[in-house]
């Protein structure tokens, strides 16, 4: 059965770039724009493309944000092989928290009849991991999150959900929302032709009003969580001296690393 897949993607600051918050409203400053497609979403795109290759159908990229969400994030997904984009952009969305974005995404996704909605489990900037479950809730669809594998058989989807130790196998009916974990696959590099063709693929541009978003439920004011302040994490260096008087320095070192959850 061909699958109508939506993959939700976010633009995030380049992992290597300096990140600054706007001191007035605590949102991320995005100038100069060195945005990229959220690396975990790249894994979600790859998973969606593999499902399409196995079952047929099409993959629609859904993204929310200003122009750069389209040019930096969605276009990368197109160059990897996705078919089209739905781009929601509206100033009223500025400063929306994870739940408000999930609500906005749900308003967009309700307009299509998708069999599967695929998301990356988290973004590399906000790291809340809240959007996929909130989205499933708003859409009233089963949610299968933190997946390391995804299989579709008939009208059911089955994932291996990553746990602290090992994984659970869970299954649900389509349509469903699936959150993909980092490392689930090795995303492909876009091909030369994919890059050349990305700009010519269809883009549907939508405003909040187009999809019936209530402006009181989005943006800084409409968000249920508010950022009240921020501080840089102190990057204090600690020096640990491990002596080898008892000949067991290696054990002490291993204990230290284990305590610090580094191994």
């Amino acid at each position: 059965m061909p699958l109508n897949i939506a993959v939700c993607v976010k633009r995030v600051p380049d992992t290597a770039a300096d990140k600054n918050l706007d001191p007035t409203d605590f949102t991320l400053r995005r100038e100069p724009d060195e945005s990229i497609l959220n690396p975990v979403d790249e894994v979600a795109v790859e998973e969606a493309l593999r499902l399409k290759e196995a079952h047929g159908g099409e993959v629609t990229v859904v993204t929310v944000g200003p122009e750069a969400a389209l040019t930096k994030a969605a276009r990368r997904a197109l160059s990897m092989g996705c078919d089209k984009v739905v781009h929601l952009s509206d100033p009223v969305l500025h400063g929306s928290d994870a739940q408000a974005i999930a609500y906005a995404l749900a308003c967009v996704l309700r307009r299509g009849s998708y069999d599967l909605i695929v998301c990356g489990s988290e973004s590399t900037d906000a790291r809340t991991s809240l959007v996929p479950p909130a989205l499933a809730e708003y859409l009233n669809l089963p949610g299968l999150f933190h997946a390391r594998t995804v299989e579709v058989e008939g009208d059911r989807v089955r994932v291996q959900r990553e746990a602290d130790q090992g994984y659970d196998v869970i299954e649900g009916p389509l349509p469903a929302v699936v959150g993909i974990n980092w490392g689930a696959n090795e995303p492909r590099y876009p091909s030369f032709k994919g890059i050349q063709g990305a700009k010519n693929k269809p883009v549907e541009s939508l405003t909040a009003a187009d999809v019936g978003i209530e402006s009181t439920r989005v943006g800084l004011a409409g968000s249920q969580s508010q950022v009240l302040g921020f501080a840089a994490r102190s990057a204090e260096r600690r020096r640990i001296l491990v002596d080898n008087k008892d000949g067991n320095a290696h054990v002490k070192l291993a204990d230290f690393l284990q305590e610090a959850k580094l191994i």
Partner: protein
Amino acid sequence: MAAMGGDGFELSEEQEEFRKVVRAFAEEVIGPRAAEIDETDEFPWDIHKAMVAQGFLGIGLPEELGGAGGGPLDVCVLIEELARVSGGVSVIPLVNRLAAIPILLAGSDAQKREVVEGLVSGEHQYSYCLTEPGSGSDAAAMSSRAVRDGDGWRLTGQKRFITNAGISDRYVYFAVTDPEGEKGHNITAFLVPGDAPGFSLGRSEKKMGIRGSPTREVFCEDVPLTDADVIGEVHKGFQVALRTLDFARPTVAAQAVGIAQGALDQAVLYVRQREQFGKPIGEFQGIRFMLADMATATEAARLLAYKAASMVAAGDPRTGYFAAMAKTFASDTAMSVTTDAVQLLGGYGYIKDFPVERMMRDAKITQIYEGTNQIQRVVIARSLLHSGGPGRKA
């Protein structure tokens, strides 16, 4: 310059995106193997396979024949980013393209189809056989001979410094077909299969750099060929050879730019971390002046390489002039920048734990092959002094 972006000095968005992809590929797939390829000097079949899968061998080859499309500028971006990580690996698309150009310029439809299909699928690789033991810069003085034999030809001769010989199974081979004829107008290009009777290879040369890409002698002893193996017109092969080099020189320039950029990036990384006299050495003005000069020369070389590549794309009559300048300036830059990078890393630059000594060794060949820089200067000056200026054929 249609191939360049809006103001003529920027790549298009797509080309910049393609650069990012090649850079990621080079750093992730080739990077971890680069030192090992240099050390073992073995052709990296795994990387060739990965590049084929990624479609890199089809870049710059006509889409209607099954290539990936794109022009000389896209090829430059590809080669530059590969060379930034491994000079040896960058030779793979470089030499295959060098050998494909004469076929695309002058070959039959069947030859064109075969070369594009072969390179794109990875099933065939091509080498370019011009240089001989006794004829390098004076290429037209070659002694390889092909004589008429009934409906076909018999080819006998010896070629030297043939890149990827033994890896390739198709050889574009230039030979004199009219020994009595005027020099340079008596040469024909042939397509010789690597399994032809009488075809054999010499030992693999032990090279200073671009290791992992074998360089060998090629011997032809009475190799039987047909008219279908002739590329272009009989006796017109040398013109094809020269045009090919004009077309390919911007990509050698791009390779040199990539090597220079790779060394510069390593140097920047190092001087930020290396501390002496209580601060990173990048804080010292003497170091900064060196870095500034390295970066300036690299950017200038890149612009010249892209300019020459855009001229190839546009069919500009000044292509040869600019291609010679691009190749000369970029390769001299690669040599000086890599030498300075080794200097900046000091003792660490001189050992193989760091990649800059490899880059310095890789840089040297770019001043030598596809026409030494001395010959390039002859081309530049001849073109400059020719009545009518560089726009005219010298």
